[in-house]
Subunit: 226 residues, 2 copies
DNA sequence: TCTTGAATTTCGAGTCATCAAAATTCTAAT
DNA sequence: ATTAGAATTTTGATGACTCGAAATTCAAGA
């Protein structure tokens, strides 16, 4: 069985690959994500390569092998199912479930995860809108525009929030930008680097560009649900 | 923070102290409980003593210090709340929750455990009838007679099952001896080393002495609930 | 092409938890 | 009192993971 350290490494490598497909994942990113020194990553990555979980190009970076990808997808599945479970069944706040799931993902049995999956009705996304890999390890990664890149004025629905920090999630919740909610982009200011939003509730909110880029949306064709 | 290994050591030491108060816990028992070699226990116990969690008498055994006892009670609390949670909320079978909780007990946050405690209505015993320590770390250890030592013929209620192995628990469930159920002891046979039971449901069951000693019961005064 | 600064790797070392084999200590029976 | 046998401790070693400091490599600009 892989140790929880190994699971953490492949999990973060997968995350990096998902945000930049094609590219090799450089050591530095892994070190930053796991909060360890670069020399530790170099050492660890070699043992991952020995176990056949990644391919390693010195001074280049790593890429998951099929077995590595499968393991990583399983960890991601556990993590995201746990997050949803903790929000929906246990009643924790979505801003606190990420760090909780971080620990639990290495401790839950396959049996328990299956039961949780069943309890939740085989969901396809977690509370942040991130897709949940299937039991077979397949991930569907749809590619939504952000509030920074979507058309002005058109009706939108929040699909996904791509920052798991508790602080950001609390802001999102306060602003009414949780996945599922409807809104439209009123205007963008190049100089102020802000985006002005009108929520379906009528409220107006403005976000900085960094924040706006983290909110992924689905343009709705008419008033219906695309 | 204590490592999960340290938590496991103090947890099992507490368990041994609970079944034999007064006595020092010998190394061998710990080694057997944790499935490690005696030399490992000796080494580990020294570091526990250095951390002030146990007092160690070479060739004698160990005893928990107040801080050690407190830590152990917290682990026990997490374990038992998790067992009850997995049975009542998640719907797992009570024969499988022990090993699941064994892993989760080291991964859950204080926050989550408090939430689970609340969700369950601050229960006082787990599915096996084992008492759940309070958040402050206090354990109430009532002392019930077993099916081997209780009066014959008198009405009884199953209080507790002191063997967590999945196999034994499945037997207990099949026989209708889960905590809460009523019964009486018909007879005991010295030579066959068996106990003959009559359940409130009317069924008759017989158990060997080893098994009977693991079922703790409460003698009921009349027909009411004592 | 040369140089320089950032990223990466190498090297030496340390912690934690574990084991097997050998030595020691204790206990209980003679 | 001796002593055999069980329990325990000592010793030396290993694997997994980590660090810091020094050396190396790479890529980009002069």
């Amino acid at each position: 069985m892989p140790t929880s350290t190994v699971e953490d490494y492949v999990k973060h490598i997968l995350l990096e690959e998902q945000r930049q497909p094609e590219a090799l994942v450089p050591m530095g990113r892994i070190a930053a994500a796991l909060d360890v020194t670069p020399s530790t990553v170099t050492a660890m990555v070699k043992t991952l390569a020995d176990s056949g979980l990644v391919t390693y190009e010195p001074y280049g970076g790593v890429r998951l092998t099929p077995p590595g990808r499968k393991l990583a997808a399983h960890v991601q599945r556990r993590h995201r199912l746990l997050e949803l479970f903790l929000v929906q069944i246990v009643g924790l706040d979505w801003s606190e479930v990420h760090s909780e799931a971080e620990h639990l993902e290495h401790a839950v049995s396959e049996r328990l995860i299956d039961r949780i999956d069943e309890l939740l009705g085989h969901p396809s996304v977690d509370p942040h809108g991130d897709p949940i890999p299937s039991a077979a390890g397949v991930v569907r990664e749809p590619d939504f525009p952000t509030l920074l890149l979507c058309p002005l004025g058109a009706p939108l629905r929040v699909e996904r929030v791509s920052d798991q920090s508790a602080e950001f999630l609390r802001l999102v919740e306060r602003s009414g930008l949780v996945p599922g909610n409807g809104l439209s982009v009123e205007s963008r200011s190049e100089t102020a680097e802000t985006v002005r939003l009108r929520l379906d509730s009528g409220e107006e909110v403005s976000l900085g560009w960094r924040a706006a880029a983290k909110i992924l949306v689905q343009p709705l064709v008419a008033a219906g649900k695309a």
